[in-house]
C-alpha cells in the first residue's frame, strides 16, 4: 500500500524498490526545503534586478547588451537537458542497464556544459563591450543574478560527474538511487529558475 503512494516531489520509485522508496520520502522532502530557500534567494535577486533596471548610469542598456538568438539557444539546451535527465531517472527507476543510465547522464552533462559555454561566451561579449559589473547598478544586479544560476548549473554538472562515478563504483543501491532523485530535483529546479530569467530579464529587455 505504501509503495503506491507518492511520497515526495519528483519521480517516485514506487513499487520498483519499496525499501528505497520508503527512505526517499524524508530525504527528498529535506532537499525540497533547501530548494525552496534557494528559490527565495533567487527571488530577492530578481527583485533587486527589477529595482536596478533603470540605473544604467548612461552606460550599456539591456537592449544594447542582450541578444535574442543565443538566449533562445541556451533555453533550448537547458530544456533538453531536463528531458534527458528525466529519461535517466526513468532508466534508473526501472533498473535499466548501467550503460543506458550512464548515457543519459552523460548527455545531460554535455548539455549542461554546452549551456555554460554559451553563457560564458555571452558574458565575455558583454565584458568586451565595457558592460562589466562595475559599470552601473543595472549591470551589478545582472551579474549577481544570472551568473548565480550559471554557478548552480556548474555545481549540478559536477554533481552529475560524481553520480556517474558512484554509479560505476557502488552500483544501483538505495543510497545511489536517492542521490539521483535529489539531483533530479536540483536539475529540474534550475530549469524553472532559467524560465524566470529569460522571461523577466532577457525578453523584457529586448521588447522595443
Amino acid at each position: 500500500m505504501t509503495a503506491g503512494e507518492t511520497k515526495h516531489p519528483g519521480l517516485n520509485l514506487g513499487s520498483t524498490d519499496a525499501q528505497a522508496h520508503e527512505a526517499a520520502g524524508s530525504a527528498l522532502f529535506g532537499f525540497w526545503a533547501f530548494l525552496m530557500s534557494d528559490a527565495v534567494i533567487f527571488a530577492l535577486l530578481f527583485a533587486t534586478y527589477g529595482v536596478m533596471l533603470p540605473a544604467t548610469a548612461g552606460g550599456p542598456t539591456p537592449a544594447s547588451e542582450y541578444k535574442i538568438g543565443p538566449t533562445f539557444l541556451e533555453t533550448l539546451v537547458l530544456l533538453t537537458s531536463s528531458l534527458t535527465y528525466g529519461l535517466a531517472s526513468i532508466a534508473m527507476k526501472h533498473g535499466a542497464a548501467q550503460a543506458s543510465i550512464q548515457t543519459w547522464l552523460g548527455l545531460t552533462l554535455a548539455l549542461g556544459l554546452l549551456f555554460l559555454g554559451l553563457e560564458l561566451h555571452d558574458f565575455a561579449g558583454m565584458i568586451a563591450h565595457g558592460a562589466t559589473p562595475m559599470r552601473s547598478g543595472f549591470l551589478s544586479a545582472f551579474f549577481a543574478l544570472v551568473p548565480l544560476h550559471g554557478l548552480h548549473v556548474l555545481a549540478g554538472s559536477l554533481w552529475i560527474v560524481v553520480m556517474m562515478a558512484q554509479l560505476r563504483i557502488i552500483g544501483l543501491d538505495a543510497r545511489v538511487k536517492i542521490n539521483l532523485l535529489r539531483l533530479g530535483l536540483f536539475w529540474h529546479f534550475l530549469d524553472i529558475i532559467w524560465i524566470a530569467i529569460f522571461s523577466t530579464v532577457y525578453l523584457p529587455g529586448l521588447i522595443p
Binding site: W32, V40, A43, P54, K93, H188, I192, A196, L203, I207
Partner: protein, 104 residues
C-alpha cells in the same frame, strides 16, 4: 493503480509531453519578442503569463507535483514559499519604487 503509475512508457510519455509543452511555450514567448505584433505592455504581460504557465507545466511534468493527497506536503511547501516570495519581492518593489518616485 500503482502498477499503472510505475509503467516506464507512461512515465517517459509524461516527460516528453512536458518537454513539448515547454518548447511550445518558450518558442511563442521568444517569437512575440522577436517579431513584435502587439504593443509592448501587452507583449510583456503575455511573456510573463507564458512563463507562469510553463513553470506550472514543469512542476507538473518534471517534478511530479500533483494535487493528490499524499503529495500535499510538497504542495504546501511550494505555496508557503510562493507566499514568502510574493511578500518579499512585492514589498521590495513597492518600497523602492515609491522611494525613487519621491527622490525624483
Amino acid at each position: 493503480m500503482s502498477e499503472r503509475r510505475d509503467d516506464p512508457r507512461r512515465e517517459a510519455r509524461g516527460y516528453v509531453l512536458g518537454y513539448a509543452a515547454a518548447l511550445l511555450l518558450t518558442s511563442v514567448a521568444f517569437a512575440l519578442v522577436r517579431w513584435p505584433v502587439l504593443a509592448s505592455t501587452a507583449t510583456y504581460a503575455l511573456v510573463l503569463a507564458l512563463a507562469l504557465i510553463q513553470i506550472v507545466v514543469q512542476f507538473r511534468c518534471f517534478l511530479h507535483i500533483g494535487l493528490k493527497r499524499s503529495t500535499r506536503d510538497d504542495l504546501q511547501l511550494i505555496l508557503f514559499s510562493s507566499l514568502i516570495i510574493a511578500l518579499m519581492v512585492g514589498g521590495t518593489l513597492v518600497i523602492l519604487f515609491n522611494l525613487r518616485m519621491r527622490m525624483m
